[in-house]
């Protein structure tokens, strides 16, 4: 019995000593790098993922405004843009509020138009202008200039799991097209947590 008591006493003393040593060690966590994140998902898809501004395989003309509008390639949207005037649907299954931005880089190959970066209402001899519009927004006042990089958002603070329809307006260059080779550009829509 005495042995057990001694053993118990020894353990109690040992624990007390350990606590006095270990507390400062655990308290020092603040000096370490801390990396944290919570599960959160950014998930968007865009359909369709191609756009020929003139429709089908039709070649584009110079100094012409084309719209990603199912009602017509040269038909401007209504004063308040309707769903049916937007070619593209963003299916958003993100769990976070997101901001969406669209950049429209220069065309490469063929006549290689450059983006004038001032919107769909202006062009240059070898430069095109482009803007995006979304369903429910005012046209043309609510259009957003699509620059080659650093555009303003197509949509800020889009609620989680909320879809969005959008279209594009593009004014082609004022100079003649001369190359028989098709030119291409890849529009990138960026999604980031707001």
């Amino acid at each position: 019995m005495k042995r057990i008591r001694r053993l118990m006493l020894s353990l109690a003393l040992a624990l007390m000593l350990l606590l006095s040593f270990s507390v400062p060690a655990f308290a020092a966590v603040a000096d370490d790098i801390v990396v944290t994140a919570t599960p959160s998902y950014i998930s968007i898809t865009i359909a369709p993922d191609t756009w020929n501004p003139a429709g089908g395989s039709v070649k584009i003309d110079k100094a012409t405004t084309y719209y990603a509008n199912p009602l017509g390639a040269t038909t401007a949207p209504s004063a308040t843009v309707a769903d049916g005037e937007c070619t593209f649907t963003i299916t958003n299954t993100s769990t976070e509020i997101t901001t969406l931005t669209g950049n429209f880089p220069d065309f490469a190959s063929g006549d290689a138009m450059t983006n004038i970066n001032t919107g769909y209402a202006t062009n240059g001899a070898n430069a095109f202008g482009a803007s995006s519009y979304i369903s429910g927004a005012a046209w043309p006042g609510g259009a957003v200039i699509m620059q080659s990089t650093g555009s303003d958002p197509i949509k800020s603070s889009l609620a989680a799991t909320t879809n969005l329809k959008f279209g594009i307006a593009m004014l082609t260059k004022s100079g003649d097209f001369s190359s028989p080779t098709a030119m291409t550009s890849t529009i990138t829509v960026t999604a980031v947590k707001s």
Binding site: L18, A37, V189, T190, A191, V192
Partner: protein, 181 residues
């Protein structure tokens, strides 16, 4: 009394072995950082991932690195999921944030920050419905003085599915870095 002393010493040694053998973060060795990033249950929302099985996604949306100092290593596993029925090629890279979207209280990452980010697999090819963990690690060289860095700065990582189509999606993760002060 002798047995009592021996018993105390033995108990102390055993208990010390247990306690000090456990991983702990100690200021006694501040040059060895805590590197969080091993994905565990708390990092995955299994219900959401099940719902998003047929969607392509990136997680997390934001990572915060606190108490950082040059020479330290801080990483996290970015999870990329291919929700399509075909294999998909992705590009994973450091990205300069859009200047108008920097989080309040933070500033743009230093110009050379792209050299400090290590992406374990920059061009992953994902099988249909595959989820891949890609390690993103921040290591600022010790030649950079802490006082030469902003106190709070932000960089992004970008994940792009390379489709070759005219419209492509880029999904970005925010990385918020707070320096040790």
């Amino acid at each position: 009394m002798g047995k009592f002393v021996v018993g105390t010493v033995v108990a102390l040694l055993i208990t010390a072995g247990i306690v000090f053998g456990l991983p702990s973060s100690s200021a006694d060795n501040p040059v060895v950082p805590v590197e969080n990033g091993d994905v565990n249950g708390s990092d995955i929302d299994e219900d959401t991932e099940e719902k998003l099985y047929d969607r392509t996604w990136v997680s997390p949306a934001m990572v915060e690195i606190g108490n950082y100092y040059p020479g330290g290593s801080a990483g996290w596993n970015l999870r990329v999921h291919n929700g399509s029925d075909t294999e998909a090629q992705f590009l994973v890279a450091y990205r300069v944030p859009d200047s108008d979207k920097i989080k309040e209280g933070y500033v743009m990452a230093p110009a050379e920050a792209g050299d400090w980010i290590i992406v374990s697999d920059p061009t992953p090819l994902l099988a249909p419905k595959e989820t891949r963990e890609i390690r993103i690690t921040l290591v600022v060289p010790t030649s950079i003085r802490s006082e030469d860095l902003p106190v709070k700065w932000e960089f992004w990582t970008s994940v792009i599915e390379v489709t070759g189509d005219m419209i492509q999606v880029e999904t970005c993760t925010r990385w918020l870095v707070s320096m040790r002060t």
